[in-house]
Subunit: 338 residues, 2 copies
């Protein structure tokens, strides 16, 4: 086992007193900045660790956290941001907020801006089409913590806050099957995003459990917009062997499906049961009310910022946590109860 | 007419060359900061103006704008923020965002935080119960621009972005009267806020135009929440002389009224016509679809940030603008067409 580097090791190498090293690592004003820099640099080089090491390295803390979301104008994201702001504000942190507009290009620019703004930490939900992790490497190299929420990247240096999308997809599909559905259409988003691939995996697991073969002609990958809902129902209406159930990976698109189905004279849930995802406010207003998954947006925002601040304060490092899975919940309403 | 102060006047008074004065006002690195400060101070004292004067004064520009909203988790505010972020990002500005949670106390704390964060400008929609302007005085004193949007304060040094709430309230009430309504209930928010007092004034103007006397027992001041909608309908159900129309000052509360009315067996719009305000997504999902006022949230955010940046870049000072009124629009749907 490799021996842990101590302040005595650093002091010896630099021919300084251990007290000076300790003070420098705690950013004590009595140590001049040149000495401080040489100590901090050597400590980093040797892999020195202490509970407050990360925060000491950031000698220019801005008490600002960067947040990058796909879109600001979504009900889910506004709940997340409300939760984030409440916790950040309480702890004396500010939030610098930007949106990628679902584009990898804009996300990269946003990440660079956050870097130049010297945020103490970065909280990200990645864009629809983001492919790689490279644009976050600068943060990792500088020990600036990056935390993903909802739409995540799995990276050893980063933590993630999610719900169990596989389990949620499994529960809602199982519910449809238990209501008698046998041909269940699934309208989803980009399967490179964990949230959509997870829900799709859950859908497949439920079919497998009940011995229903997967029919790929019933899977539609869309951008989950209102328009996508209308297009999905247009396609459904032309099918010879029509589905008796439909699971849509968000409520905005699901509500649009319900409206399009009703316009074409389908009776919900008798002709076709409809289930969404998110528990968006519209799910309680549409008639019939929509079966969906409760998605704890506010809690996700709160936990994300709390995890980040605990790391920055040296209470608990984010790379020891890896993933926090929040509880989601199936909410059964009239749109699926046959 | 008073003569405009020039760099020659400043140079003469300070016994410096005009070139030095010019360079100092343009924040040229060759001029030492003490000289720069004395020149900038004298220029300010004499009322010197140039296109870039405002931006020169702010020698420590952070390229960050502060935004304080009542709540982050509202559909209207998330549209505003999306518009703000798009314009700010395009122009190289960051947004520091916080919420007052409708409390004057938290708003004051937020304003202080924004001040200490050295934002280049502040964009505010005031809380439900904010009483005075004092907490913004520090900004005004330091020449840091403050712009109000939606819920505003009238202050000579600040600009405001609003819709014409009086006109919108007038139009929607007139529409109810034209549909045959004669006893129109009005559910509104804190009348100290321009948005609610304006809509109420518009309601009164419409009644006056059609010769309908104002009945104050039909006016309910609430927090416009979902619960407030249920409470309003409970009260309505107990009235002997029931209203035949109801105008609610936001859609969230209006949708809750529709649901409560339907539960009690009222037919909409035959028994009672219902109109909301905001064109919130739920207004298009509730049955019957809700008559409302289109409220250009995204545009309001865009115009607010564009106005602020124009000021910061010296293109156009905000105190010459005072108020920008955006177009709103009556949207007639089934909930009012008898």
């Amino acid at each position: 086992m490799e021996k842990e580097v101590t302040i005595y090791d650093i002091a010896k190498i630099l021919q300084l007193s251990p007290a000076t090293v300790s003070r420098a690592l705690n950013d004590h004003p009595a140590i001049n900045s040149k000495t401080k820099l040489s100590i901090v640099t050597k400590a980093a080089e040797l892999g020195y660790r202490s509970n407050t090491f990360a925060s000491n390295l950031r000698r220019k803390s801005t008490s600002t956290l960067g947040v990058i979301v796909p879109r600001l104008d979504s009900s889910f994201m506004s709940a997340v941001l409300a939760g984030m702001e409440a916790v950040a504000n309480q702890a004396g942190y500010n939030l610098l907020i930007s949106q990628s507009l679902e584009s990898q290009g804009k996300e990269k620019t946003n990440v660079k801006t956050m870097y130049n703004s010297r945020v103490d930490g970065l909280l990200v939900s990645v864009a629809y089409d983001t492919e790689g992790f490279e644009h976050f490497e600068n943060f990792v190299k500088k020990n600036i913590p990056v935390l993903f929420f909802d739409r995540i990247f799995d990276h050893p240096a980063c933590a993630s806050i999610v719900i169990d999308n596989v389990q949620a997809g499994f529960e809602i599909t199982s519910h449809l099957i238990e209501q008698g559905c046998r041909r269940i259409m699934h309208v989803t988003g980009n399967l490179k995003r964990n949230v959509y691939s997870g829900r799709y995996q859950g859908y497949q697991n439920a079919l497998a459990k009940y011995g229903i073969p997967l029919d790929e002609s019933l899977i539609m990958v869309t951008d989950l917009s209102q328009e996508a809902g209308e297009a999905a129902i247009e396609k459904l209406a032309e099918m010879d062997n029509k589905p008796d159930g439909i699971f849509i990976a968000n409520d905005i698109c699901a509500v649009s499906c319900v409206q399009a189905l009703k316009k074409r004279g389908f009776k919900i849930p008798v002709d076709i049961a409809v289930a969404g995802f998110n528990n968006d406010p519209v799910s309680k207003v549409i008639e019939p009310n929509l079966t969906t998954i409760f998605y704890p947006g506010r809690e996700m925002g709160e936990v994300a910022v709390r995890t980040m601040i605990n790391h920055l304060k040296g209470v608990q490092k984010i790379d020891t946590t890896n993933t926090v899975i929040l509880k989601s919940e199936l909410i059964v309403r009239e749109s699926t109860v046959k």
